[in-house]
Amino acid sequence: MDALDLARLQFGVTTVYHFLFVPLTIGLAPLVAIMQTIWHRTGDERWFRMTKFFGKLLLINFAIGVVTGLVQEFQFGMNWSEYSRFVGDVFGAPLAIEGLAAFFVESTFLGLWIFGWDRLPRVIHLACIWAVAAATWASAYFILAANSFMQHPVGVRFNPETGRAELESIWALLTNNTTLAAFPHTVFGSLLVGGTFVAGIATWWMVRKAQKGDETEARTWRTAVHLGLAAVLIAGVGVAVSGDWQARLMFQQQPMKMAAAEALCETEAGPGFSVFAIGDLENRCDVKQITIPGVTAWMATGDPGATLEGVRELQDQYTAKYGPGDYVPILPITYWSFRLMIGFGALSAALAVAGLWLTRKGRLPKQEWLAKLALLAIPAPFLANTFGWIFTEMGRQPWVVVPNPTGVDGVWLLTADGVSGNPAWMVALSLVTFTVVYGALAVVWFKLMRRYAAQGLPDEKPADPLGDDEDAPLAFAY
């Protein structure tokens, strides 16, 4: 492997890893904030205990999300310096704004929330967790604005003198319709993770407590189950609606990516949605598929009879415009990651419906299989998120900045031209280092999460805040 492959592999490994922890933070933070709000409004201590329980899991998770985010920012310069030179004028701005507007808020108010339990007035302490939740969402927006620029460059022009992309309108960049669609999709996708996480753990506990005949505790957990499931259902609808919008945009903005997602080799009128394919996807059209007629055409345009361009025709168009080269993403990856994303997302939502059915009208299910299934469901939305990003980033290849067919001309860059000039051994060293460190941390993270989840709700009672002037010791959170 050369430096390019290694750098790409590192970006894939570190980004997928980073985005295991981030959606849980984005999805769980507002749920913890809601729990604390309900406690604050009703004085019901069960919600206090739940805030404490899920809050602890949030913190274990948050730590790893923060530190792996640092790698994301640094590796653009370290491994992708030529990309950074080309787009820095445009791409750096949303990153810097994210730090100033969102990340400062997130980390500062999280510190206040962790250490402020017995110190801050309750309403201010509550405001801190809401500030954290809002900041994680703002953070997602700016990062997606940066990413959407790579998918669909707007608000920029190519300066032939400097040979780089230059920002023309920050407003256009921040209101890129790709961003506007990706943002709800990502946030709802994260809420799917957070909701399933809460519902999964709470269901396990509800069943356990019901089996032991502890109905009071089982009912407490049942409320958390319902909060989680409600979040999953809202998120499920949100993901589907925003995903549909995204797909429609993507057919216009990145036709090759969508054709690759559908393994649509030849230009076709009214193509169907391929559910399953066997055969050699790599060799493009030599496959047998099961398709639902007209669905892909309808997804793309709203008209089931519309004609969509296939991979071969698009390849010819790209060759004519950008010179000889292979402009087709790796089809098995785009095809399957797209389906796995949808499949795991739909599975999460379906399980939520089943969960609501099983707990309808005050029921407290005691079935052992339900407890097990609830825990097994937790990875599903994580996988949906992971496959979604693998699809969107692998489907962008061979470009790092995809040419915009509907607008800006001249702003594009091949991934191969974006890599730093560092020797392969250096990148390999970095890749191995991060893989080892990240792997070790994942093991510890999982063990900690599992053991803390197995602790159950704390018996703690809320303490009165000590107030500012009292001569009392501070809480020691560490």
Partner: protein
């Protein structure tokens, strides 16, 4: 004022914020194995927890200054960001790993009540504080000194070029300065025995820091300085001399203010010596990256100026508020029992 100049100053400001704030929490991390000893010389976990909790609510917010400094460099000086980050590859890799392990160690240390678990977390905190404290000094010294950069703005040196005597002195300077800054912070932030011990340690560190940092400042000035940068050299030197007096007389607030002034003066010296270059080339001065040939377009700089001017005051406000909320001195007596889970006992 010219926008690239404004951004040169803003980047210097962000680095100042980072080095002043994370400087003391690196210092606390480095001093962990020294200041956790009780009067009998034994390592005391309660003291160790006290030290870690002294920076608990703030270390993460402090580290964001680095993220913003990095992001702002990317946005305002893409060529600088690209050359610096791809050129200083291995030191940055080490810094990243150190910061990763240190960050999770803070958050996870108290989660399991097991001496071996804590020992591993402490090793991560201590090493994770030394490594970046050293390497930031090495990196900034190399930036001022200049590195091999070709006509295409590419770094052509090797790792060993970065480990020259001047840069190593720079690294030693940041290590000693941050250790002193951390000791002074702890004397200000704790009560009881730890406060006394931190005060005594600060007193002992003050003179060596003055010698090392003074030597580095004078070397920087003689080799790379301008006439006016004698001012930050003098400010840094005088404030460190005053720190010696302040730590002797246990003027804790004043000592912390003075180490802060020293770090600010050091950043002013470094950036003052650098200006108008951002990364001088030792290959040929014509290949140097300057505020003009490395910067973004005027439009981007203008947008970013508005963003920075609009948001930075709020950041200072709420971060300042955090320090106010947690302003009380911490004592060992107030530390509760370890709340972590008991270690898993393996069944045979």
């Amino acid at each position: 004022m010219d926008l690239p100049v404004v951004w040169f100053l803003l980047i210097a400001l962000l680095w100042t914020g980072y080095l002043v704030l994370e400087g003391f929490d690196f210092g606390v991390g480095m001093l962990l194995p020294v200041l956790d000893r009780d009067r009998d010389g034994r390592h005391d976990d309660r003291r160790r927890r006290l030290l870690i909790n002294s920076i608990g609510p703030v270390w993460d917010g402090n580290e964001v200054w680095l993220i913003v400094a990095g992001g702002a460099t990317f946005a305002a000086f893409p060529e600088w960001y690209a050359t610096l980050f791809s050129g200083f590859y291995l030191p940055l890799l080490l810094i990243l790993v150190a910061l990763i392990l240190r960050g999770v160690a803070f958050e996870w240390r108290g989660k399991v009540d097991d001496p071996r678990w804590r020992a591993r977390a402490d090793a991560a905190i201590i090493i994770g504080s030394y490594v970046p404290a050293l390497l930031w000094g090495v990196a900034f010294a190399n930036i001022v000194r200049g590195v091999a950069i070709d006509e295409n703005k590419q770094f052509t040196g090797t790792l060993f070029d970065l480990l020259n005597p001047y840069a190593l002195l720079g690294g030693l300077t940041t290590v000693t300065l941050f250790a002193l800054h951390g000791a002074v912070f702890l004397a200000l932030k704790t009560a009881g025995e730890v406060r006394e011990d931190a005060g005594r340690l600060a007193e002992r560190l003050a003179v060596p820091t003055l010698v090392v940092a003074g030597a580095f400042a004078v070397w920087t000035q003689l080799a790379h300085g301008k006439a006016w940068t004698w001012i930050p050299v003098a400010v840094a030197a005088l404030s460190l001399v005053a720190v010696v007096g302040a730590t002797r007389r246990r003027f804790e607030g004043r000592a912390f203010a003075l180490t802060t002034v020293t770090i600010v003066a050091a950043v002013v010296l470094i950036f003052g010596a650098l200006f108008p270059n951002v990364m001088p080339s030792t290959t040929d001065p014509a290949f140097s990256l300057t505020i003009d040939n490395a910067s973004s377009t005027p439009y981007t700089l203008k947008v970013m100026t508005w963003v920075a001017v609009g948001l930075t005051p709020f950041v200072l406000l709420y971060q300042g508020w955090t320090y106010w909320v947690f302003r009380k001195r911490l004592t060992v007596e107030a530390i509760g029992p370890n709340a972590g889970l008991k270690p898993v006992v393996r069944q045979r």
